[in-house]
Amino acid sequence: MIRRHEDIIIESLARFLTPFIQAFALYVLFLGHYSPGGGFQGGVLMGASFILLVIAYDIIEGKRRITEKFNIVLNATGVMVFSGTGLLCLILGGEFLDYSQLAAILPVGPEEARGLGILAVEIGVEITVAAIMVSIFLDLASAGEHEEALK
Protein backbone atom coordinates (compact mmCIF):
# COMPACT_ATOMS: atom_id res chain seq x y z
CA MET A 1 0.00 0.00 0.00
CA ILE A 2 2.51 2.62 1.13
CA ARG A 3 5.07 3.16 -1.62
CA ARG A 4 8.09 5.37 -1.16
CA HIS A 5 7.89 8.73 -2.93
CA GLU A 6 11.35 10.11 -2.06
CA ASP A 7 9.98 13.47 -0.90
CA ILE A 8 12.81 15.15 1.00
CA ILE A 9 10.59 17.64 2.87
CA ILE A 10 8.20 15.00 4.23
CA GLU A 11 11.00 12.56 5.08
CA SER A 12 13.16 15.08 6.92
CA LEU A 13 10.17 16.55 8.75
CA ALA A 14 9.10 13.09 9.93
CA ARG A 15 12.64 12.30 11.05
CA PHE A 16 12.85 15.64 12.85
CA LEU A 17 9.48 15.26 14.61
CA THR A 18 9.80 11.64 15.74
CA PRO A 19 12.19 12.17 18.73
CA PHE A 20 10.03 15.05 20.01
CA ILE A 21 6.87 12.92 19.88
CA GLN A 22 8.70 10.14 21.70
CA ALA A 23 10.02 12.54 24.36
CA PHE A 24 6.48 13.85 24.85
CA ALA A 25 5.23 10.26 25.18
CA LEU A 26 7.75 9.64 27.98
CA TYR A 27 6.78 12.97 29.61
CA VAL A 28 3.11 11.92 29.55
CA LEU A 29 4.05 8.57 31.07
CA PHE A 30 6.19 9.86 33.93
CA LEU A 31 3.96 12.82 34.84
CA GLY A 32 0.80 10.73 34.65
CA HIS A 33 0.50 10.87 38.45
CA TYR A 34 0.27 14.65 38.57
CA SER A 35 -1.21 15.69 35.24
CA PRO A 36 -3.49 14.18 32.58
CA GLY A 37 -2.01 11.22 30.84
CA GLY A 38 -0.62 7.86 31.80
CA GLY A 39 0.49 4.61 30.29
CA PHE A 40 -2.23 4.26 27.66
CA GLN A 41 -1.98 7.76 26.21
CA GLY A 42 1.81 7.68 26.27
CA GLY A 43 1.78 4.30 24.55
CA VAL A 44 -0.50 5.54 21.80
CA LEU A 45 1.80 8.54 21.24
CA MET A 46 4.85 6.26 21.16
CA GLY A 47 3.16 4.01 18.60
CA ALA A 48 2.00 7.02 16.57
CA SER A 49 5.58 8.28 16.27
CA PHE A 50 6.58 5.02 14.59
CA ILE A 51 3.44 5.04 12.42
CA LEU A 52 4.48 8.53 11.24
CA LEU A 53 7.86 7.15 10.14
CA VAL A 54 6.19 4.29 8.26
CA ILE A 55 3.83 6.71 6.48
CA ALA A 56 6.64 9.08 5.54
CA TYR A 57 8.92 6.28 4.29
CA ASP A 58 7.40 2.87 3.53
CA ILE A 59 6.66 -0.42 5.25
CA ILE A 60 9.93 -2.07 4.23
CA GLU A 61 11.95 0.73 5.81
CA GLY A 62 9.72 0.66 8.90
CA LYS A 63 10.11 -3.09 9.34
CA ARG A 64 13.86 -2.65 9.02
CA ARG A 65 13.74 -0.38 12.09
CA ILE A 66 11.38 -2.55 14.16
CA THR A 67 11.20 -6.13 12.92
CA GLU A 68 8.11 -8.25 13.44
CA LYS A 69 9.94 -10.51 15.90
CA PHE A 70 11.12 -7.55 18.00
CA ASN A 71 7.58 -6.21 18.02
CA ILE A 72 6.22 -9.52 19.33
CA VAL A 73 8.93 -9.51 22.02
CA LEU A 74 7.88 -5.96 23.00
CA ASN A 75 4.23 -7.04 23.25
CA ALA A 76 5.12 -9.86 25.62
CA THR A 77 7.56 -7.71 27.62
CA GLY A 78 4.89 -5.16 28.52
CA VAL A 79 2.47 -7.80 29.74
CA MET A 80 5.33 -9.44 31.65
CA VAL A 81 6.26 -6.16 33.39
CA PHE A 82 2.62 -5.62 34.37
CA SER A 83 1.92 -9.09 35.69
CA GLY A 84 5.45 -9.46 37.06
CA THR A 85 4.92 -6.44 39.33
CA GLY A 86 1.67 -8.00 40.54
CA LEU A 87 3.26 -11.40 41.07
CA LEU A 88 6.18 -9.82 42.94
CA CYS A 89 3.72 -8.30 45.39
CA LEU A 90 2.06 -11.72 45.66
CA ILE A 91 5.42 -13.40 46.39
CA LEU A 92 6.33 -10.77 49.02
CA GLY A 93 3.27 -11.68 51.04
CA GLY A 94 0.58 -9.21 49.94
CA GLU A 95 -2.26 -9.46 47.48
CA PHE A 96 -2.00 -9.15 43.67
CA LEU A 97 -0.81 -5.59 42.78
CA ASP A 98 -0.58 -4.58 46.46
CA TYR A 99 2.34 -2.20 45.85
CA SER A 100 3.10 -1.43 49.50
CA GLN A 101 4.72 -4.88 49.79
CA LEU A 102 7.45 -3.70 47.37
CA ALA A 103 8.94 -1.68 50.27
CA ALA A 104 10.59 -4.94 51.42
CA ILE A 105 12.95 -4.94 48.40
CA LEU A 106 13.13 -1.18 47.64
CA PRO A 107 15.03 1.27 49.86
CA VAL A 108 11.90 3.40 50.41
CA GLY A 109 8.87 3.39 52.67
CA PRO A 110 5.53 1.78 51.80
CA GLU A 111 4.01 5.06 50.56
CA GLU A 112 6.77 5.71 48.03
CA ALA A 113 6.72 2.04 47.08
CA ARG A 114 3.07 2.45 46.05
CA GLY A 115 4.00 5.31 43.70
CA LEU A 116 6.91 3.37 42.21
CA GLY A 117 4.74 0.26 41.80
CA ILE A 118 2.13 2.24 39.85
CA LEU A 119 4.93 3.67 37.67
CA ALA A 120 6.23 0.14 36.93
CA VAL A 121 2.75 -1.00 35.89
CA GLU A 122 2.30 2.09 33.68
CA ILE A 123 5.63 1.38 31.96
CA GLY A 124 4.36 -2.11 31.14
CA VAL A 125 1.12 -0.67 29.76
CA GLU A 126 3.05 1.84 27.64
CA ILE A 127 5.30 -0.80 26.05
CA THR A 128 2.40 -3.11 25.19
CA VAL A 129 0.10 -0.37 23.84
CA ALA A 130 2.85 1.09 21.64
CA ALA A 131 3.76 -2.31 20.20
CA ILE A 132 0.11 -3.30 19.65
CA MET A 133 -0.66 -0.01 17.83
CA VAL A 134 2.31 -0.60 15.50
CA SER A 135 1.20 -4.23 14.97
CA ILE A 136 -2.38 -3.26 14.09
CA PHE A 137 -1.21 -0.56 11.68
CA LEU A 138 1.35 -2.77 9.93
CA ASP A 139 -1.18 -5.61 9.57
CA LEU A 140 -3.82 -3.24 8.17
CA ALA A 141 -1.43 -1.45 5.83
CA SER A 142 0.45 -4.46 4.46
CA ALA A 143 -2.57 -6.82 4.34
CA GLY A 144 -0.36 -9.75 5.34
CA GLU A 145 2.19 -9.20 2.57
CA HIS A 146 5.90 -8.43 3.05
CA GLU A 147 6.67 -11.89 4.39
CA GLU A 148 10.37 -11.33 3.74
CA ALA A 149 10.36 -8.81 6.60
CA LEU A 150 9.21 -11.50 9.02
CA LYS A 151 12.67 -13.07 9.13
Binding site: V44, A48, A141
Partner: protein, 81 residues
Protein backbone atom coordinates in the same frame (compact mmCIF):
# COMPACT_ATOMS: atom_id res chain seq x y z
CA UNK B 1 -17.90 27.39 29.91
CA UNK B 2 -18.95 30.25 27.59
CA UNK B 3 -22.35 29.23 26.20
CA UNK B 4 -21.83 30.75 22.74
CA UNK B 5 -18.62 28.74 22.29
CA UNK B 6 -20.41 25.65 23.59
CA UNK B 7 -23.27 26.13 21.14
CA UNK B 8 -20.89 26.50 18.18
CA UNK B 9 -18.98 23.35 19.16
CA UNK B 10 -22.15 21.26 19.66
CA UNK B 11 -23.56 22.42 16.31
CA UNK B 12 -20.30 21.50 14.56
CA UNK B 13 -20.28 18.09 16.27
CA UNK B 14 -23.79 17.32 15.02
CA UNK B 15 -22.90 18.49 11.51
CA UNK B 16 -19.75 16.32 11.48
CA UNK B 17 -21.61 13.28 12.82
CA UNK B 18 -24.34 13.54 10.17
CA UNK B 19 -21.78 14.21 7.43
CA UNK B 20 -19.63 11.22 8.42
CA UNK B 21 -22.47 8.76 7.80
CA UNK B 22 -24.04 10.41 4.75
CA UNK B 23 -20.92 11.18 2.69
CA UNK B 24 -20.45 8.69 -0.19
CA UNK B 25 -16.66 8.96 -0.29
CA UNK B 26 -15.22 6.69 2.41
CA UNK B 27 -11.93 8.61 2.66
CA UNK B 28 -13.73 11.90 3.36
CA UNK B 29 -15.91 10.04 5.83
CA UNK B 30 -12.82 8.94 7.77
CA UNK B 31 -11.41 12.48 7.79
CA UNK B 32 -14.75 13.96 8.91
CA UNK B 33 -14.85 11.37 11.70
CA UNK B 34 -11.41 12.58 12.78
CA UNK B 35 -12.74 16.16 12.88
CA UNK B 36 -15.69 14.92 14.94
CA UNK B 37 -13.27 13.30 17.42
CA UNK B 38 -11.27 16.50 17.73
CA UNK B 39 -14.39 18.61 18.38
CA UNK B 40 -15.50 16.10 21.03
CA UNK B 41 -12.02 16.49 22.55
CA UNK B 42 -12.56 20.27 22.75
CA UNK B 43 -15.98 19.78 24.38
CA UNK B 44 -14.55 17.39 26.96
CA UNK B 45 -11.78 19.85 27.76
CA UNK B 46 -14.40 22.52 28.30
CA UNK B 47 -16.29 20.25 30.66
CA UNK B 48 -13.14 19.61 32.70
CA UNK B 49 -12.55 15.96 31.76
CA UNK B 50 -8.98 16.55 30.59
CA UNK B 51 -7.93 12.90 30.79
CA UNK B 52 -10.79 11.75 28.57
CA UNK B 53 -10.05 14.60 26.17
CA UNK B 54 -6.41 13.54 25.94
CA UNK B 55 -7.40 9.96 25.15
CA UNK B 56 -9.89 11.18 22.55
CA UNK B 57 -7.24 13.37 20.90
CA UNK B 58 -4.62 10.60 20.71
CA UNK B 59 -6.80 7.59 19.91
CA UNK B 60 -9.89 9.08 18.24
CA UNK B 61 -8.42 11.88 16.19
CA UNK B 62 -4.91 10.49 15.76
CA UNK B 63 -4.47 6.76 15.47
CA UNK B 64 -7.96 5.55 14.52
CA UNK B 65 -8.07 7.92 11.53
CA UNK B 66 -4.82 6.41 10.33
CA UNK B 67 -6.28 2.92 10.81
CA UNK B 68 -9.39 3.86 8.81
CA UNK B 69 -7.32 5.28 5.96
CA UNK B 70 -5.09 2.18 5.94
CA UNK B 71 -8.19 -0.04 5.75
CA UNK B 72 -9.85 2.05 3.02
CA UNK B 73 -6.76 1.66 0.80
CA UNK B 74 -7.63 -2.05 0.47
CA UNK B 75 -11.23 -1.51 -0.60
CA UNK B 76 -13.07 0.74 -3.01
CA UNK B 77 -13.25 4.37 -2.11
CA UNK B 78 -16.89 4.86 -3.12
CA UNK B 79 -19.59 3.28 -0.99
CA UNK B 80 -22.36 1.38 -2.80
CA UNK B 81 -25.35 2.25 -0.61
Amino acid sequence: MIWQFDLILLTLVVICAVAAITVKDLLSSAIVLGAYSFLMCLIWTGMGAVDVAFTEATVGAGVSTVFFVAAIYHTTRRTKD
